[in-house]
Each structure stands twice: as C-alpha cells, then as structure tokens.
Symmetry: C2
Subunit: 356 residues, 2 copies
C-alpha cells in the first residue's frame, strides 16, 4: 500500500453529482477506515456535503486542524499523526483531504509518511486547490515560515473536483485561485490566456476553463513527476511570489493569500522575461496590464528588499548559490533554469512598487 | 534531484580501503554541499576517519544529534532540518548518515523530506546497520514510542560498508547486529544458517557472512521495494520484537537493544511457526536452542501482557484489526500475511518467560 512510487492520479470532475465519487468508493473494497481532514471553514461549509453522501454507506472519522498558512507546520502534522494513531488507522486506511491548498499540502504529507505511506485522496474546495495545489503530488509544510521546505512528491490516489464547493468561496478567495489559471495559460497555452482575457470569469463561467487548466497542469506533472525539467515551468511567478509570502508571514503585519503574492511575482518575472528570455515588449505589456487590471496591485511597501532577498535564498530551484527562474519566452511558452542577477531582481522589485 | 521514485542503491563493501568511497565522490560533480550526520558516539569514534579522508578534497559540515532509540523522534528531525536550512543546504546537497540504525533511519527520513528530497548515502558503523537497517530504503522515526510509525521508503544513493567500523563496537552491540544476520539465514538461506551455527562469529570472521547477509536483504528489497509481498518476510521476529521494544521504551525501567528484542521475538515467532506455518518440531527446536545459546534469554518479566498487546495493535502489517505475522515454514523459507490469534501470542509469550 505504500504509494511513494509514481502513479498518475485519477481525476474526476463533476458539476452536480457525486456519482463518480460513489463509484470510486465502491471499488475500494479493501478500505479499513476513512478519515476526513478539514480546517474550521471546510468543517463548517463542506463537510456536511460529504457526511450526507457517506450517510448509511461508509463510516468516517473527521480530523480538524486550524487553517491558514501560519498553521502549515510540523506541529499540525504531529497533531494529525497522533489522531490517526489513537484512532487505530492502519495501512489500509484512507485519508480524505477536504479543503484548500493548505489542507491538501499538509494532508498529503501526513498520509505519505504515516506508517511509511497510506492512501489519500484530495477533494479541493477552493479554486486554488482545484486548479493547482491538489494536483501534482507535491505536498509539504513550511519551516520557520519558509514555504514548503519539508515535504515529498507523492501522488494522491484520486482527485475529486466538484464545482459545488466553489459556491462556498468569497470573491477574494475566488480571485486567489484564478491567478494560477492565468499562470497555466501564460506558461503553456496561449489560447487559454486569450480566452481568459476576453471574457469575465466567475463561478458560473469557469467550468470549461477550469477543466482546461487542470488538464495543462496534469499533463506537465505526468510528463515530469519529480521535477527534473519541464515541471519547473509551473514555478513561473513563484520564485519571487514565495519570498514575498514568507516575508509577510514572518512580519506579522498583514498577509497576502498565496495567489495574491504569486500574481505580484508573475508581474515582476514577466519583466525579467524581457531581458532574460526574449519575451517581446508588446506581449510583456499585454500580460502585465491584464494582470494589474484583473488582480490589482498588491501593497508591498512594507517589505524591505534585503529581507525579501534573504527568503529568495531558500528557493528550492537555487543551485550553487545562484537564483534560477522559470521565465516566459512568449505567451504560452516558458523556459526554466534561467540564472538571474540580484541586481535585476531589485530593478523589477522597485519597478513594481513604483507602479501606480 | 527528488529521489522518491525507486532506484536500487549502489552498495560498496570494503575491508581496508576507502578507494571506492573516493571514486564515488569524484563522480558526483554536481554536489553543492556535504553534510555528515552523527550521534555523540559516531562523532567520537568514526567521524575522524571520514574527516581524514575528506581532508583537502571535500568540505563538509557535521551535524550531531543525541543517539539512542529514545531520540528517534520528530524533534530530532526538526533540529536537523533547521541546521540544514540555516547552513544553506540546497537540492544538490548530500546528507551522509554516519552511524547505526537510528542515525540512518532518522537521516534517511530527513533527507527524503528536506526540500521534498535531497540525495543521501548511508555509512553504517554498526553491524545492525550494515546487515540490515542501512539497506532497503526504509527510514523513519517513532511516534509516542511506537516504532517507525512515521517515515517513508526512499533508497539512498549509495551504501558504504567498511569493516573497520566494526572495531568500534563492543560485544553487546556486535551481538545486537548478529541477530539480523541469523534472521536473514532463517528466512531465506539455509546454508547461511548452517554456517552461522557451525562456526564462532566474531569481528574477524564475519566478512563473507556479512556480505552474504547483505546480498540476501538487498535481493529481497530490490524484488519488492514497497513491501507489497515478499519483503514482509524481513519482518520475521519483528512483529513481537517491536512491541517488546516499545513496551520497554515507554516503561523507562530498562531497555533492550533492537536486536535483543528481535531475537526474543524470533524465538516466540518460531513457536508460532509450528502451529501456523507447518514448521517441523525438530527444526523449531534447532532454531530456538541455537538462538538461546548464542543470544541468551532476555528479561521480559516486567512486561505486562496487556500492555504488550496494546503495542502489537500498532504493527504496520495489521489489516482489519487482525495480527499478520511473517512465519517460517522451514529453515531458510518464510511466508507472510499469516493471521495469528491473540490467545496463541499469549501462549508463546508465557512459554518464553517460563523458559529457564
């Protein structure tokens, strides 16, 4: 039952029904116990949907942890490991991660390491989770506010995407996930980018676009599950974005959601793409104008540049003390392992802050 | 560089020289930093050998943790993760685990999860490590004294076996490792068992036997790296042995070394093999007499049976609340997934304690 070897995750996408989820559980006749991991929000807004579904069919035990990036820590893992252990979870138990990216990140790591690995499935409840975090097998926790320093790559048995959960999101969280959908277009699919630029995206119109974004991500991670090469393009915007997130997480002043930090990173890394990756100026302007228009400018004025750079030093793509970026050479196409100088990071950081 | 997919570990065995270790490092031209993990003992007795070897060739940073099973905890992992992070370890860093089974268990887990996996090599300094723990990719830590509840299966890039380190062991620790060598004969190689029974094994005579024991273990784990089937035979003696260890670890009264608990487990499980696996009485007597003769009887009188059983409930091979054992059907042959009743566990537990 250990699942540390690569296997492609089954992805089920449903609009109105839970039938395919039922089919999945009916084929799993070797399951001993089911555990559902939630945070306080998904316990309140999403668990009842699953509880009704399971009622009279399958027993489950729910485990709740405190949500938010500040709780993506080893302490949360220890709390879950202990609850699994006390409840008698064995190698045939299943962990259902019901939540946004933080829940699927923590739950994936806990399941991958409990008894050296039990099966798990992801049921993302946020657009961020559906379009990105729940897919691709990356899991992990932060160490001293440094993003995803501890974790593994281990694919869930199944990912269940149910648009019903999108209705539980407020506008800020919907936009948070939309950032990754735009990123998927920019790095791999110009048509998706053009689609996104031409229509207003909301909870009702996102269906086909979300399916496309999931397909893009899944194709990339299936081609390169352990990030030896092309998978690195998914990090576009994340090199700078993660460092911004860590800075703010440690400052205690205010926080950006993951997507809010990433979109600022995408804008700065688009500018870097002009110099380092041959991105044409008209495409660069088209990208940054659109991103500013849809997502607005984030307040980064409280971030000190030297502090920001200290977090950039922890980026997992760094090699031999060199910053390695994934940058665009055109809309819909991205290169990786591009060394960028500290001076140029400072230029785009200042340019972002100077933009009105 | 993530190494969560199975790859067979290179195993280098040397008697007097470090040449093959040098060859290994010379081929690794993409290494950024080398970290050597030790406990207080291997720092004192073994690190200087490596330090002399590295001198003027490679820089390294040493990380020390407190040794002993009571420190095989998540807290030790957090301490090492933090030291790696503060020292700027990146994805091209290498962790060298220099120590016995506890160091290679902890170090393997730390390396498998730091930045979602960096490369590591094991240099076992104990016979237990060389014959068993350092080989096979299983790593992990204890949770609330329950053995190896958290961990993963992830193979080291290389394992370096150097008999010089055996000279640092006292008799108790030498015998501790010898238990697993006997186990490898019992489960898979009658000729090895007969060899072991006919000659006195000491640090000078162990060479060929150790090489054979390593070959047996490596063949099994290569055939079934993720323990779907035959790898379970390596657990012979460990179902009961681990529960004994956990009991004593939590009691604080006295401790058995891993091998000391396992040999008691092997004797009890040999008796279970008669009833559940068709092991002939004469072979059973041959096994238990030899094990008592070489390893002596361990004092288990302080262990309460109900307390012992509560730990057996946590065995990773359990399925659907059933105890699954790996048992011998003959000397040199072992079966797995054999359900054993609680009553019969009690019978052999009492029989062991009643043996003079």
């Amino acid at each position: 039952m250990s699942s540390n070897q690569f296997k492609e995750s089954k992805i089920l996408i449903e609009d109105n029904s839970l039938d395919s989820l039922l089919d999945y559980f009916l084929t799993k006749n070797n399951l001993s116990k089911i555990f559902i991991l939630t945070d306080e929000n998904t316990k309140k807004y999403c668990l009842s949907i699953l509880a009704n579904f399971f009622y009279n069919k399958f027993d489950f035990t729910s485990i709740e942890i405190a949500g938010g990036e500040q709780n993506k820590t080893i302490e949360s893992c220890i709390a879950i490991w202990n609850q699994l252990s006390h409840a008698g979870a064995d190698k045939n138990s299943l962990l259902v991660n019901l939540g946004g990216g933080i829940i699927t990140d923590i739950g994936g790591f806990v399941a991958s390491t409990y008894l050296r690995g039990i099966n798990f499935i992801n049921i993302p409840t946020s657009l961020m989770g559906m379009a990105d975090a729940a897919i691709g097998g990356k899991n992990g926790i932060d160490l001293n506010a440094i993003k995803n320093q501890i974790g593994s790559i281990n694919f869930p048995d199944m990912i269940f995407i149910h648009s019903l959960f999108l209705k539980t999101l407020n506008d800020r969280h919907f936009k948070n996930g939309l950032v990754e959908v735009f990123k998927h277009g920019l790095i791999a699919d110009k048509k998706l980018w053009l689609n996104l630029s031409s229509v207003e995206i909301n909870r009702d119109s996102i269906g086909t676009i979300l399916t496309k974004a999931i397909e893009i991500k899944n194709n990339i991670v299936t081609e390169d599950p352990y990030e030896k090469g092309i998978r690195k393009i998914l990090n576009f915007g994340h090199t700078i974005g993660h460092a911004l997130e860590s800075c703010l997480l440690n400052s205690g002043e205010y926080q950006l959601l993951h997507g809010e930090a990433i979109v600022a990173g995408m804008i700065m890394e688009t500018w870097l793409s002009e110099k380092y990756c041959g991105l044409k100026l008209d495409e660069s302007s088209e990208i940054t104008s659109k991103l500013f228009e849809i997502f607005g400018k984030k307040k980064l004025s409280l971030i000190n540049f030297d502090n920001f750079i200290s977090y950039l030093n922890y980026d997992k793509k760094n090699q031999h003390q060199q910053f390695n970026f994934s940058l665009l050479n055109a809309i819909g196409s991205c290169k990786w392992n591009i060394a960028v100088s500290l001076e140029d990071v400072k230029v785009v950081f200042n340019r972002y802050n100077a933009t009105i």
